[in-house]
Each structure stands twice: as structure tokens, then as C-alpha cells.
């Protein structure tokens, strides 16, 4: 063998700390926000056990302004507002995550199906998606809840019904983009077929776009949930749902400002964190 085969090239030194590089690309503010999403989820999970007072029972005179030991003051019935807001995170955050997760699962499955099967399946699914997307969703979700009866589960169902098509569209578009990418063609030529091809060579490529959208959507879902509960369609009392708490306290704005403002601030913080984290992820993914 006389061919000058080049010397075997060696592995380039792996750059240390992929996470640190991701954080650097996201920006510190966004990284903090992303971490705080995890913290909020943790808080939402353990909130029922760490509230300083029983959020359902009268623990002090009504309408105490924020102070010690009642950090956020007390409400109309003398319940500790801080405990209620803390528990409210559970009642607002977890349903929001649930809606997004369910929508993600359904949307992704249909999007993968539409994108990879093509033909009639694609046509049918995407027409359906388009229909759902062009319907004025909040309005119909309201009507759905009005029909099914108020309540957290019904509200979640109503919102989910109008949320999955977004993900289907994103997944389908990404799949269509990825499907014609050389690496998929290469895998096909290499003999990879069907589900294995989709799951190994296509689906993981959809994750970044989905992740960004889903993170940004947390804020949207929370706002929609709180809107529903403001209209009296969310989780009824005594569950301390943040939107409902704000709604109920709104008449006290000028008298007991902490009743509407502090739950709303909690909503704001959650939305802000989700938005920032989503922005950061988007930036990291797109390399802006």
C-alpha cells in the first residue's frame, strides 16, 4: 500500500463543562431564571408541607398588613396570605406544567406522525391543527368550561384542547425540515427505517425548538389559567389558586392592597422566570 494515508487524527480535547458553556451562551440572568424554574417546581411540590401556617384556617385577625409573623398579611377570613400564596404556587404552577406536558405529549406524537408519515395522515392532522389554530381559542375554551362546569380539571382540559396544536405544528415543521437533512437521508441509506429512524435520527432534533416554546408557554398557560379563574371558571375555593386570589382581592385594592397585589406578584414572578428562561434557551439553541 503506497497511498499516503494521513496519520490517524486524534480526538480533539473535549471542551470542559458543556453546561457552563450553555450558561455562558444563555446569559447569567437567563440561567438564573432557568434554575429558578426548577426551584419553583420544587417549591410547588413541597409547598403543602412547608407553609408556616395552615392556609385554610383562620390564624389571626382579618386584614393584617404584611409584617411579622404574617409576611404577606392576612386575608378577609384571617388566613395567612403568605401560606396561601405559597400553596397557590402549587395550584397554579403544577396545573400549568401538566397542561404543557399533556399538550407536549399529544402534540409531539401527532406532529411526528404527520411529519414522518406524510400523505393523507399529514393532510388530515395538519388540517385539524390549522382549524384549531384559527379558532379563537380562549373564547371557545371559556365556552367549554362554561359547559363542562367550572373546576380546575375542566379548565385544564379546555386549555389543553387548544394547546396541543401548537406543538404539533412545531414538531411537524421541524420534522419536515429535519427529514430532508443529509443526516436523515444518510441514515436511511444506511438502512435505518421506520420508528428507529424517527426516534434516533429525527425526534431528538425537535427537542430544542419544543423546549424553547414550551418554556415560554408556561407563562402563557399560567396567564390563561388565571384569566379563567378570574372569570370564576378555575379551581373554586378554598383552594388558593393565585389568579382566583387576585381576582377576589381586586375589590380591596385601595383598602387592603396586599390581597390582590401579592398573589399577582407571585404570578408575575413565575411568568417572568419562564419568559426569561425561554428567551435564554432560544438564544442558546439558535446561537444568537
Amino acid at each position: 500500500m503506497t497511498v499516503a494515508r494521513p496519520d490517524p487524527e486524534t480526538i480533539p480535547a473535549r471542551t470542559p463543562g458543556r453546561l457552563r458553556r450553555l450558561a455562558a451562551r444563555m446569559g447569567w440572568l437567563e440561567t438564573v431564571a432557568l434554575v429558578s424554574l426548577g426551584v419553583i417546581t420544587l417549591l410547588a411540590l413541597i409547598a403543602p408541607w412547608i407553609t408556616p401556617f395552615d392556609p385554610y384556617l383562620r390564624v389571626a385577625p382579618a386584614h393584617l398588613p404584611p409584617g411579622w409573623p404574617h409576611l404577606f398579611g392576612t386575608d378577609d377570613l384571617g388566613r395567612d396570605l403568605f401560606s396561601r400564596v405559597l400553596l397557590g404556587v402549587t395550584y397554579t404552577w403544577l396545573p400549568g406544567l401538566c397542561i404543557i406536558l399533556v399538550a407536549l405529549v399529544v402534540g409531539t406524537a401527532l406532529g411526528l406522525a404527520a411529519g414522518t408519515m406524510g400523505g393523507t395522515a399529514d393532510l388530515v392532522i395538519m388540517r385539524l391543527v390549522e382549524l384549531f389554530l384559527v379558532l379563537p381559542s380562549t373564547l371557545i375554551a371559556l365556552a367549554v368550561v362554561a359547559a363542562l362546569g367550572p373546576g380546575l380539571v375542566n379548565t385544564m382540559i379546555a386549555i389543553t384542547i387548544f394547546w396541543w396544536p401548537w406543538y404539533t405544528r412545531i414538531v411537524r415543521d421541524e420534522v419536515c425540515r429535519l427529514r430532508v437533512r443529509p443526516h436523515v437521508e444518510a441514515a436511511r441509506i444506511g438502512g435505518s427505517r421506520g420508528t428507529a429512524l424517527v426516534l434516533r435520527h429525527i425526534a431528538p432534533g425537535v427537542v430544542p425548538a419544543l423546549l424553547v416554546t414550551a418554556t415560554l408557554d408556561v407563562a402563557n398557560v399560567i396567564m390563561t389559567l388565571s384569566l379563567m379563574s378570574f372569570l370564576g371558571l378555575g379551581q373554586p375555593a378554598p383552594a388558593p389558586e393565585l389568579g382566583a386570589m387576585t381576582a377576589r382581592g381586586i375589590d380591596s385594592l385601595t383598602v387592603f392592597w396586599w390581597l390582590p397585589i401579592l398573589p399577582a406578584v407571585a404570578i408575575m414572578v413565575m411568568c417572568l422566570m419562564a419568559n426569561l428562561a425561554g428567551d435564554g434557551l432560544r438564544r442558546a439553541v439558535r446561537g444568537a
Binding site: G27, L135, P136, L139, I140, T246
Partner: protein, 329 residues
């Protein structure tokens, strides 16, 4: 062009039809009984039964649906249980106020979005503008509406906080106070109507401005890294001209789509804003109709909103196409 419009019109009808199916299906599962709502809880069973017969509620659902579609084709949306007026008349009465408010919110929101996005591009690359934007967009609408009223009307007395106009008994041909005021040459009416529009429109516009502004900022960011932006800079153009002349038009498409989508979300907020600002529009009508399970009215509002939404999105699509010479209708 004809083909395009034809296709869109077909889609338009299809979606409206879907709305009718969904709302009609809701009617079938809703626990309230329209006949009972009409006759009142005190009516004897025979009367309720008779009204049921008159309303055709005893017919099979498909038959009811077909009849409903037939009436719809003639512009008959039935009679409101609550107001005892033809729903079509009620809609005509409430729609102009809503269109005026939504229109104002759209214009204000788009303008705000532009300002926010440009501020983010040109002034501060830091997080300050973005944080303000995001925080403003994260306030629940019912609180922001109330805060606007409290601050700008109650505390500062800069702007009116409720109703459409400060002048009694003014009526015009279009139902939009601003346009009627202009048509009839009444500057006082125009001024008052505009002043009344500011706060509710602002409340509606805030989430819109944030969503569209972010979309625009992101699109601009991409566009300004395109080679042609570099070409423009290479010609020695100042950055603001690069942004305005080369950036905006090319970045217009995603924020325009976002604008169209936000209209759908705005309908939900509209219910709250109209309620809080005592704005006599379809949102208010909807809230009250929902509360009294006035199905013909709810159906009518849903159809109207659906039509407005779809028409607007069609218009957005056409504008997008016009903005980009590469696309052909």
C-alpha cells in the same frame, strides 16, 4: 390572486362552520335548559314543554343543527333569551364598541411593540428594556386594568376610566364614536371618545405589545445578521437606517403572524377589560350571556369573534405577501 382569495374564502367558511359545530355541541352538553331559561323557573311543566316544542328542542340534534344553519344563512341568529331581542340586532348594537376598542388596542399595541423592539435593538442591549417588557406582560390583565384605572383616573385624573364617551346621547351612522365624530364634524365627540379609549386599549395592548415586540425584536435580530444588512452597513449607512430601511420590512412577517394570533388571545382579555372599564361591547354582552346561559347569544358572539379573527388573519396573510415581493398570491 383570484385563486388565492378563493382558497382563503373557502377556508374562512370552513372555520366558521367549525365554530358553529363546536358551539352547537356545547349546547348539547350544557346542563342548562333554554326553554326553562325563557319561561322562568316558576313556569309549569306544560309551558316549558310547549316552549321546548316551539324552539324545536325536542327534535333530534342533527335536525336542530340543520335548522340553525339554515337560519344562519338568512342572517337569523335566533332570539336572545336574556334580552328578548334578535341576537343579530344585539350584536349590531354591541359590535361597534368592541371593534373600536380592539382596533385601538391593535394600533396601540403595534406602536408599542415597535417602540419596544426598536428600543431594544438601538438603545439598550442590556436587559433593562426587555425586563420591563416582560414584567409588564406578566401582570394579570384584571390587575393591570384595575391599576390603570386607579392610577390614571382615580389618583391622577388624567383620563376617564369607564364608558365610551363623556357626552350624552350621541349617535352616529357607524357606531364607532371616533369615526362618527369625525364624520359629523364633532371634535368634542372625537376628543372624548379618544380619551375614553386610551386606558382600556392600553390594558388590552400591553400583552399584545410584549408578544409582538418580542417577536419583532427576535426577527430583527436575525434579519440584521443577514448578509444584506452587512451590505447596507458596508455602504456606510447609519445603524438606525439599516434597522428602519433594511430591517423592519424583512422582519415584518413573524410579528405580523403573532399579531394575528394575539387577536385570538385578546378575546379572552376583552371580556375582562370590557367588564372592568364598563365598555359596552361584545365582551360585556358575552359575560352577561354566559352568566344567564343565553346560548343563542353566546353562539352569536362566538361566530362574530370567529369571523373577525379569521378575516383579520386573512388580512395579515395578504399584508405579509405584499410585504415580500418574492411571494406571489
Amino acid at each position: 390572486m383570484t385563486g388565492y382569495l378563493l382558497r382563503r374564502a373557502l377556508g374562512f367558511v370552513l372555520v366558521l362552520w367549525m365554530v358553529t359545530v363546536i358551539v352547537f355541541a356545547l349546547q348539547a352538553i350544557i346542563p342548562a335548559d333554554p326553554a326553562r331559561a325563557i319561561t322562568g323557573p316558576a313556569a309549569p311543566a306544560e309551558t316549558v314543554e310547549r316552549v321546548r316544542g316551539q324552539l324545536g328542542l325536542n327534535d333530534p340534534i342533527p335536525q336542530q343543527y340543520v335548522r340553525f344553519l339554515g337560519n344562519l344563512a338568512r342572517g337569523d341568529l335566533g332570539t336572545s333569551v336574556r334580552t328578548r331581542q334578535p341576537v343579530a340586532d344585539d350584536l349590531r348594537r354591541y359590535l361597534p364598541a368592541t371593534l373600536e376598542l380592539v382596533g385601538a388596542a391593535m394600533i396601540l399595541g403595534t406602536a408599542l411593540a415597535l417602540v419596544l423592539a426598536l428600543a431594544q435593538m438601538l438603545l439598550a442591549r442590556s436587559g433593562a428594556v426587555r425586563m420591563t417588557m416582560l414584567a409588564a406582560g406578566s401582570v394579570p390583565i384584571f390587575l393591570s386594568a384595575m391599576l390603570l384605572i386607579y392610577l390614571f383616573w382615580f389618583s391622577l385624573d388624567w383620563l376617564p376610566g369607564a364608558g365610551r364617551i363623556g357626552i350624552r346621547r350621541f349617535e352616529g351612522p357607524t357606531g364607532s364614536m371616533v369615526i362618527d365624530g369625525i364624520l359629523l364634524g364633532r371634535p368634542d365627540v372625537v376628543g372624548s371618545a379618544l380619551a375614553h379609549l386610551v386606558l382600556p386599549a392600553l390594558a388590552l395592548a400591553l400583552p399584545l405589545a410584549v408578544a409582538v415586540g418580542r417577536s419583532l425584536a427576535s426577527a430583527l435580530h436575525d434579519v440584521l445578521r443577514q448578509p444584506y444588512a452587512e451590505t447596507a452597513r458596508g455602504k456606510g449607512l447609519p445603524e438606525y437606517r439599516v434597522v428602519l430601511r433594511h430591517g423592519l420590512r424583512n422582519a415584518a412577517s413573524p410579528p405580523l403572524s403573532m399579531l394575528g394570533l394575539q387577536l385570538g388571545l385578546m378575546f379572552g382579555n376583552l371580556l375582562i377589560v370590557e367588564r372592568t372599564f364598563a365598555w359596552p361591547g361584545l365582551g360585556l354582552y358575552m359575560v352577561q350571556s354566559l352568566a344567564s346561559s343565553d346560548l343563542p347569544a353566546v353562539l352569536g358572539v362566538a361566530l362574530t369573534f370567529g369571523a373577525v379573527y379569521i378575516l383579520f388573519n386573512m388580512a395579515v396573510e395578504i399584508v405579509q405577501t405584499l410585504a415580500d415581493p418574492r411571494m406571489k398570491l
